[in-house]
């Protein structure tokens, strides 16, 4: 064992550590091209130094030190692709819609839970009001209706709308985040969030219907509601997808399947956040403005066509491009 060999070893360890420190301080982008090359070269050399030190059972301090260096290097040399603007735009110009289409089952299940609870809320509040009280208190519907009667809804001046929009957006974002995150409770929490929101919508709608204001209600809710309620269902679907990943792992290990499902779910939630931002702006600026019911309904229909056209576009395009139709999407899913 020559002293000079050790000297050069020490030098390269020091050099490697300095490069790691530089990356930690300023990020990879600040590193010179030559330094970058040296970093990856030294990483491999120091990794083999560690392997040698382990098998030779030399000084534990040395193994410990090299282990630390290699661990730091490993997290720098192997990083997931950095997301840039092109990846974000790519997400919204195709990936989001495809994700929705590929995960139709949990998303449809979420929408089904939401809509059936809304229908149940509506029917009980309308035709069995006493029973409805034990499911969902009518007080809330009463309060909403009262606001409508007092005309405080449409009295908010234009100046208040930024505040209203942002408050609505953050509240909806919280509901969506909960609907997703509670998927980890085997989907039970997600179903609870979807059910309570559905019941609320249905019972409030029933209150307006009972007093002959059904049209006013839907004309006020739908301009933002088409997007907002779809987004909440998507978030709930992301939660159920998470639960599905855990409960039905298929060929994968259960935890790997959970993690894979979570990646898809999280990307869905990102899209949901943008949809909610749009819905919040509509709700703050359009839904509460004084506009005729007819134009509100036309506006709602337009948002519906745009949203579902956007979601179904990849499917339509594939169908136009090839005769295989939906198989093209299924094929891509298998390929992933």
């Amino acid at each position: 064992m020559g002293g000079c060999r050790n000297e050069s070893k020490r030098n390269r360890w020091n050099r490697f550590r300095d490069l790691l420190d530089a990356v930690q301080r300023g990020g990879l982008k600040r590193l010179k091209r030559s330094d970058l090359r040296e970093l990856s070269r030294l990483y491999r050399i120091v990794a083999s130094d560690l392997a040698r030190a382990r098998t030779q059972g030399t000084d534990p301090d040395e193994i410990e030190y090299l282990n630390g260096l290699v661990a730091r290097g490993h997290s720098i040399v192997y990083v997931p692709p950095i997301s840039g603007w092109h990846r974000i735009t790519g997400f919204f110009t195709g990936e989001f819609a495809r994700l929705i289409l590929q995960n139709r089952a949990p998303l449809a299940a979420a929408a089904l839970v939401f809509l059936s609870c809304a229908a149940a809320g509506y029917l009980t509040a309308r035709y069995a009001p006493t029973m409805a009280d034990s499911i969902f208190p009518r007080v809330i519907g009463e309060q909403v209706y009262q606001r409508f009667q007092d005309n405080t809804w449409f009295n908010d001046p234009l100046s208040a709308r930024p505040l209203i929009s942002s408050a609505i957006f953050t509240n909806n974002l919280r509901v969506a985040a909960m609907a997703f995150a509670f998927g980890i409770t085997l989907g039970l929490g997600t179903i609870y969030v979807l059910a309570t929101n559905g019941l609320m919508l249905g019972s409030v709608a029933a209150h307006f219907a009972l007093r002959g204001h059904a049209l006013d209600f839907w004309a006020t809710v739908l301009p933002h509601g088409v997007i907002e309620l779809s987004a909440i269902c998507l978030a709930g679907g992301a939660g159920l997808l998470l639960a599905k990943g855990f409960l039905l792992p298929g060929d994968y290990r259960r935890l790997d399947s959970l993690a894979a499902a979570a990646r898809k779910s999280a990307r869905l939630v990102m899209g949901v956040a943008v949809l909610l931002l749009i819905a919040g702006l509509i709700e703050g600026f359009y839904s509460t403005a004084r506009v005729a019911n007819s134009s509100r309904l036309v506006f709602s229909a337009a948002t519906g066509v745009l949203l579902y056209g956007y979601i179904l576009w990849p499917l339509l395009r594939d169908r136009m491009n090839s005769h295989s139709g939906p198989a093209a999407i299924r094929g891509r899913k298998r390929g992933q």
Binding site: M1, N6, N14, R17, Y43, A47, S48, L50, A51, R54, T55, Q56, G57, T58, D59, P60, D61, E64, Y65, N67, G68, L69, V70, A71, R72, H74, S75, I76, Y78, V79, P80, I82, S83, P157, L158, S159, A160, R161, P162, L163, S166, A167, F169, T170, L173, R174, A177, M178, F180, A181, I184, G189, L255, L258, A259, R263, A266, R267, V269, M270
Partner: protein, 285 residues
């Protein structure tokens, strides 16, 4: 890639075919990191409110109308607070390769199960699931899940496929690649170690190993009494008298025991090398 783990650490096989060991973060250090992050978040929120309140001094509601300037300021505030509450961890963990300010302070880092750095998606998943881990109060769910988890994961870590590891303080071993505390053991002791090491149970050996691995981190103030205790126990098991030799002798003895187990004499495996001049001095082969 194999990932195996025992209590408190995790071993990852890197693509270079060398295994890297990580110490997993415990409940305590993660709580401290989280506490610090919460303090910073609170400071960000409070300072935001103060700046906005000073900049837009006056009531939001004026008789009959709302001040539009203050309404926009209010909207900015509402968005700012949700960005601070939801986005703080995601922002820093993505930017700083798995560290938030609190984690950086406590020397913790989030990594993928395979030891790789995390990206935006992993960070978004584990931090959105904070909503569940936080329940019912102060990370009750997260703490219970962590206690039952082999790798100290909360629900967010399970969903994101991440672990939180300690960043070890990398200290260059001394000039001659020699443990500074290594001393010469007398021949009788060396003979006894080699003869009786097989009496030790796996638990005893892994306790010694674990202790030696962590002695730097413990500091001699806490490590020395533990070393003495271990020495008395192991020496007793080997039928030696339990009077305590000097500090260097105690540590050398413990290293020697582990080494004798890993590389039994006569197997031809390279063990601790003893060079001609100073017996008991470990050097590179």
């Amino acid at each position: 890639m194999t990932v195996m783990n025992e209590d408190g650490h995790m071993e990852v096989l890197a693509p270079e075919n060398v295994s890297i060991e990580y110490d997993l973060a415990g409940l305590g250090s993660r709580f401290v990191a989280c506490f610090l992050d919460t303090l910073i978040q609170t400071a960000l929120l409070v300072s935001g409110i103060i700046v906005l309140a000073v900049a837009t001094d006056g009531p939001l509601l004026e008789p009959g109308s709302i001040n539009p300037f203050r309404s926009i300021a209010g909207a900015v505030m509402v968005l700012y607070s949700s960005v601070v509450l939801l986005g703080y961890h995601i922002f820093f963990e993505t930017l700083w390769n798995g560290q938030s300010p609190g984690k950086r302070w406590t020397k913790l880092r989030v990594r993928k199960d395979g030891g790789y750095g995390i990206g935006f998606t992993e960070s978004a998943i584990r931090n959105l699931l904070r909503l569940v881990d936080f329940l019912p109060y102060l990370y009750g769910v997260g703490a219970v899940v962590m206690l039952f988890s082999k790798r100290g994961k909360r629900l967010g870590d399970y969903a994101a496929g991440t672990v939180v590891v300690k960043e070890r303080a990398a200290r260059m071993p001394d000039d001659r690649f020699r443990s500074p505390i290594v001393e010469k053991l007398d021949d009788e002791t060396v003979r006894r170690i080699e003869a009786y090491v097989s009496r030790l149970t796996r638990q005893e050996l892994s306790t010694i190993r674990e202790f030696l691995r962590r002695r730097e981190e413990l500091g001699s103030y806490r490590a020395d009494p533990m070393a003495a205790k271990l020495y008395v126990h192991v020496a007793g098991r080997m039928g030696m008298d339990d009077s305590l030799p000097g500090r260097g002798q105690v540590y050398t003895f413990l290293y020697r025991v582990v080494d004798a187990h890993d590389h039994p004499a006569g197997t031809g495996e390279p063990g601790l090398m003893e060079n001609g001049q100073g017996r008991g001095v470990w050097t590179l082969k």
